[in-house]
Amino acid sequence: MTIAKLGYTLLGLFIVWNWGFLMGATFRKIGARLAGRYGIPFYQPWINFFKNIGVRTTITHGVMYYLGPVFRLTGGIGLFFFMPMVFTGDPNGHWTNFSFEGDLILILYFQLFGMLGMALGAGEGGHPYSAMGIARGLAQHAAVELPLTLAFLSIAIQYDTFSVYKIVEAQQGGFQNWVLFTNPFASAAIILAMLGAMGHSPFNLVKAPNEILIGPATEYEGTYLGFMQSAGSILHVMEAVLFMNLVFGGATSWAELIVKTFLIYFWSVFVGMVFPRFKIEQSITWFFKVPLVLGVLAIIVFSF
């Protein structure tokens, strides 16, 4: 590991962080416009972030409460570290971070790290809403995870590897090589399950943003919230990058990455704008119906 590699990685992290904010703002903007409002300015997330960082008084409910955002942000950053971002043909290239070729399983499980920390931290605050949000989130997450896992497995079977890098590598050379076309069932499962992973409407009961804010975010203010926001933005991008890498051929440049992640992200936003929110049992049932069936098909195709 060289200092240069560390520098590139941190730079990449910075890009991702900003891009996450921008995408978040875009989403809010689109939502407002659809609702006939003007909406926030696109730089609102940065304002929020700096305001939060700058808040002088902070409270704490205890050690775990304090560590919650740390877990969350470490989860985000770690996920970034373990994800190959831009495909350059070199597994140890500049934008591959500390991904060790991006082991899919590591990424899959490391997602939970932040979620867990945040859940624990918010839990210590003792506010019922955070617990409710987490409970719902976990239930929904499990339901989303099943079709996603099936689809990921399907892709891993297809390319006989768990390395994200190798999966991206195999998709190079034109969009006809994308998993989207070579493995349509898995892709369909991912594209649908992704909606849940992103946590936008109709699968956003977890945080219920439009009424009373539920979920861990209610608990935190100041720097904590700033950290959480940063983590949220990084995680959003990383989810999109993951799907991009797995289904949409990865990215060979930052520009491609930005375009693709935006489209992926926009897909979930678009669905969210059109469909009303599901109750938690409805969303679980939905994931067990459509994406799961697709996921199972994706597996069965390779089982024989």
Binding site: T58, T74, F81, F110, L146, T161, K279
Partner: protein
Amino acid sequence: MISPIHILTIGLGGAFALGFVPKKAKDAAAVIMLAAIALMGVLTGSWLIGLINGDSAQQVFTAGFKPPFSINLLMGLNEGALTTAVNFIGLLGGIYLYKYLKEAGNHAIMVFLIFIMGLNVVIMTRDIFNLFVFLEIVSIATAGLVILTETGKAVQAGFKYMLATGVISGVLLIGIIFAYYYSGTLNIDGLTQAHIGALRGGSVALLMIMVSILLELKTFPANGWGLDVYEGANAGIGAMLSAATATGMYYVLYKLLVMAGPEWNYWIALIGAVSFIGSNVLALKQRSAQRLLGYSSIGQIGLLMIILGFKDILGDNTPYVAFGILFSHYFAKAGLFWLAGIVKQSDIANWAVIRKKPYFLFLMGTFIFALIGFPPFPSFFAKWELVMELVNTGNLPWVVAILFGSMMEAVYLFRWFGYAIKGENENIEDFKIEWNKILPVGIVAIALYVTGYFTAQHTEAGAAINWIPLFFVAAIFILDFLPVFVKNTIAIIGMALYFYNIYPDLDNMRLVFEAIFMIGGILTLIAGYAYKGKRTGFYPVALLMYAGLTAIIEAQTTLQFFFGWELMTAGSYFLIIRGKRSMPHGLSYMLFSVGGAYALLIGLGMAFAGQDSLGMEIINTISYLPYWAYGLLIVGFLTKTAALGLHIWLPGAHGEAESDVSPMVSAILLKAGVFGIVLTLIGMGGESNSYPWLPYALGWLGAITAFSGNLMAVFQEDAKRLLAYSSIGQLGYIVLGMAMMTHLGWLGGFSYVVNHFLYKAVLFLTIGAVVLRVKTHNMYEMGGLIKRMPLAFIAVMIGIIALSGVPPLSGFAGKWLFYNAILEKGWYLQGAIMFFSGGIAFMYLWRLIHTVFLGQLKDNHRNVKEISIWFLIPIYLLLAGIMVYSVKPQWVLQPLGDMIAQWFPDGQLTWDGGTAFTKYGHWAGTAVAVTIIVAFLVVLALLLISTRKAHKVKQFDITYSGERPERPETTHVAYNVFEGLYKAMWIATIPLVETWWNKVTDFLHDTADIVRRIYNGNGQTYIIHIVLFIIVTYFVIIGG
């Protein structure tokens, strides 16, 4: 040596002479009787010793003429053993009945003496009419003894008994006279040679003789009169009937079976099987202790009849098997009847009173375990031998019938024992102890252990059993009066020394399990220091379990393995049942264990079949029905790993157990099942496994178990039950991993074995310790405990991270290996189910930590202390293990991989420093851990800089629903938190398995309840049963 004929001189002379004893000298009469019985015992005993030492059997002629012209008696080895047994139990029974007999007067004393004498002659006589006469003596004496307690019930029972035996002996008489007509002799040996069964009429005569002996043995279903006697008579008489009479009658059946010829063997076995199963099933509904024992006695005789029926197949082993079962029955049944007389409670539910005197509970336990056939009792070795031989000769249906009957017996006996050990006993009047009653009970209990030990020495495999752990258990049992601190130290030192001594002898795979058992055992025992007082009974049973566990590991032979297996089951049963409210769970644990053990027994029998060896290596080369054999072995082991379908015992058993017992039975004990599965799978050939469907089915079972276990855990409100269900799920992973039969699958499985031990021990110890502090299992009654118990919180947090498989902790190793293994094996759907289970696991883990430690602290917990230091020590030692495993996974996985390579050389991990490679990817455990820790520390530093002046707020410094809450109960989100998931997935939580098992038990109980109504209490009906039984046997055996 004195001629055995003088048994008559002593017995009859004594009885007649008692007439001279004045009526007032009651003690004198009773003492004379005991002396006479003792004298007969000495006489027969001296013969027995002589015969064992090689003297030849002696014929006793009477009247100065040789048989067949006069009546002769035979004193051979069998006769010597059985008469000695009868006299021994007669003496003990006489001591037990001392006061009754004294009260009843000289006449009753004479009757008792004649009863014992009569049985002696019945055993020895070689003349069939003489047999009839002395049988009549025995049954008339019995009819007299029954009314020793002159209750109305006893008189009724006695009358029915008289009527029934009257008719039966009439039938016998007809048979005898026609046998004489066809053969011209009354000598049994003469009749044997005459083969009258070959004649048309002779066969009927023979049938009448045989059937009346069967009826005298109270064969099901024509035995209502016998049951009534068992219930109505004094318990001491019940003991005599069950132990002494049954022993004598059984030998009569043996003698006459030889006479009747080999074609009768099958029928005796068949009738025995019907009797064994029938009476054990009917006993299921029985609530009256003595009647229950009656049913059980009849069942045991049925089993003995089966053995007799197979005497030609068992060959030289027949006496060993028959005596093993017979003596267990004889001691245990006598002991239980006597206990029934001491406790004086007819309803088995009221036997809880026995607990008021713990040593009585120990006696009762001894008898019950001896009856079921647990080690170290003779019945264990006999049953083993029986099953081995029967399977070896291809008599599988018989084995199944025997084990089914035994299973039923286990149901009601353990239910009864459960009442005794756990039932409500507040309002039941305590019982009195009289020296003359407790003495015989104690003697038979000791005799059971002693005979068990010597029975074991009789076979080569049995002699090889290592008794040292058991002696250690016995020593701890004797030291049970010492305080916890001392016993705990002794136990820990003992286990440590033992482990130190044997670990060099073990191969790697065994070492892994032995280390889990022993080190885990020591660690969990450390937590025992937290208990005050004596903790009566804890240490013997805990060590019994560990003795069993280590015996399985050390086993060189399948017998030793099964021996250890049963010891472990017994020990863990007692451990589990110590918990509050654990009675029903203890029972279901025991029943599943017994069922599983029987599956194992058949499996091991099949392994034995054709290989003529008992070495453990025979399971590698099973040739007789190998699919079935391996399948049964696996099913047997799956009962211990609580695979779906066989799991219903686990949640309650682990959930209700004591705080330091739960980790023992969860983190440690469950691995015994895994060990068994590992052995079986290795036996199936490892990589070159030629039974593909078994692992395939096992894999699916593992996956579904993982799913259901985890899903059920999500919906638990009880913290320990949650962990218990979680164990079911985790064991499902292990089973799936092993079932893959690949290097990676096994590595994943083993990594889970180690990991599950570490984190489940941590979680159960911590939660157990918390429960000790907060006095509730319900998570919604806890909350916010992080403030009071930060160290416990940290332990649970690390535990759940490790369990969930989130990097960087050790759980991820298992997940990663599993993914790779799944991909390699191609079991995608199973894998997907498993990973989905992982997602579900996350929910219950969060629930566990959140609702217990986070959220709102309850008012009544504001002053609870941190969990006990004695719990923290093992917990943190285990946490250190988790951390080492997490940061340096290669330290664990590399040796495991090398070990597994001997069976699965293909597809090994390749290691490059701390990075593991498979063909699908690689994983650098250390690097990942370091990366994450660095990132974590950087972010933490940033936050610390930014919020250095954070203001600490209080619990209620939040707003909720427009108010600042002040009552934690209304604000703590804990009850039914996963309502949404439940609404979506309730269909998967329907307890189908439990319903199914309930249906099965209901069906059996209903059947029993309906069928037992044939015993309607009317003596006349019983006669109709007897005549019907005769007719049916006639039409079945001889035909119209």
